[in-house]
């Protein structure tokens, strides 16, 4: 009897170990599969939206059933440093569901190109890991934000590693929460180090130029070569 119980206990432990391994597989592989598929769909819908020139969001009533797609996508983020043709959608809010489809825009921060801080967050690992290479950004690198009407070109000014509670980095004037903003800046946050959430990796950029959507491709190739 005791031996049988021991046998069952052993099998349960082996099962638990297998389930833990399975969780790792899910976290490191499957979430990427799901999130990349989601992001690609949102990007496609946004492009259609922009092409329609309605200026509406992905939630706009263009007749395409938004099944399973989060609403609130309003911009496309291009970061040439992350690779040729790298693009992710930017969505309202920084909930888990939002971040599983792209890059999240912090509620209450400025919009693209606006004076103030256009602050976004993205995963460093898992869930499509849009900001996996955030530590490869260097001062002067271009970050382009494409909306229905404009392309905003930001240039990276620097980065910092901060504790997760350091909300001042997404203030209208980063690092100075009380100040009234005079410049348009962009802030990207992600976790740091990779596979941990102990700290946050924060990249700051500032608005350099505002272009017509037609000038996006030349600007992207210029940024890639530069």
């Amino acid at each position: 009897m005791a031996r049988r119980l021991l046998g069952v206990a052993g099998e349960l432990l082996v099962t638990l170990g297998a389930l833990l391994l399975l969780f790792v597989v899910w976290q490191l592989w499957w979430t990427d599969v799901v999130a990349n598929r989601q992001a690609a769909q949102v990007v496609e819908r946004l492009r259609e939206d922009f092409a329609d020139d309605t200026g509406s969001t992905a939630a706009g009533g263009d007749g395409v059933a938004p099944v399973g797609l989060p609403s609130g996508a309003f911009a496309l983020l291009h970061v040439p440093r992350f690779g040729d043709g790298w693009v992710r959608p930017v969505l309202d809010g920084t909930d888990r569901e939002v971040l599983a489809s792209g890059v999240g825009h912090y509620d209450g921060t400025a919009g693209p190109g606006e004076v103030g801080n256009f602050a976004v967050a993205g995963h460093r690992t898992t869930w499509g890991r849009p900001f996996h290479d955030i530590d490869r950004l260097r001062a002067g690198d271009r970050v382009l934000v494409e909306t229905a009407d404009h392309v905003y070109v930001y240039a990276v000014t620097g980065h910092e590693v901060v504790p997760p509670t350091e909300v001042d980095v997404v203030a209208a004037v980063p690092g100075d929460p009380g100040a009234a903003p005079e410049r348009a800046v962009l802030t990207m946050t992600s976790c740091h180090p990779r596979y941990s959430a102990a700290e946050r990796y924060v990249v700051h950029a500032e608005l350099l130029d505002t272009l017509d959507p037609a000038d996006l491709d030349p600007a992207l190739s210029a940024a890639t070569e530069g």
Partner: protein
């Protein structure tokens, strides 16, 4: 435990193996679709935002 399950499955060995594979696939699918997404927020791996 698993030996008892194996004995409980009907049919010849190949049928038992097939059923076991299907059961395993169901367990994996349930974990991927429902169990792991619920567990994930409890894990400190992927918080990317700053907040108080």
């Amino acid at each position: 435990m698993y030996a008892a399950l194996w004995r409980a499955l009907p049919g010849p060995t190949w049928a038992k193996a097939l059923q076991a594979a299907v059961l395993l696939a169901v367990v994996v699918a349930v974990c991927f679709r429902w169990v792991f997404p619920v567990l994930e927020p409890l894990m400190p791996f992927a918080d990317v935002t700053v907040g108080p």
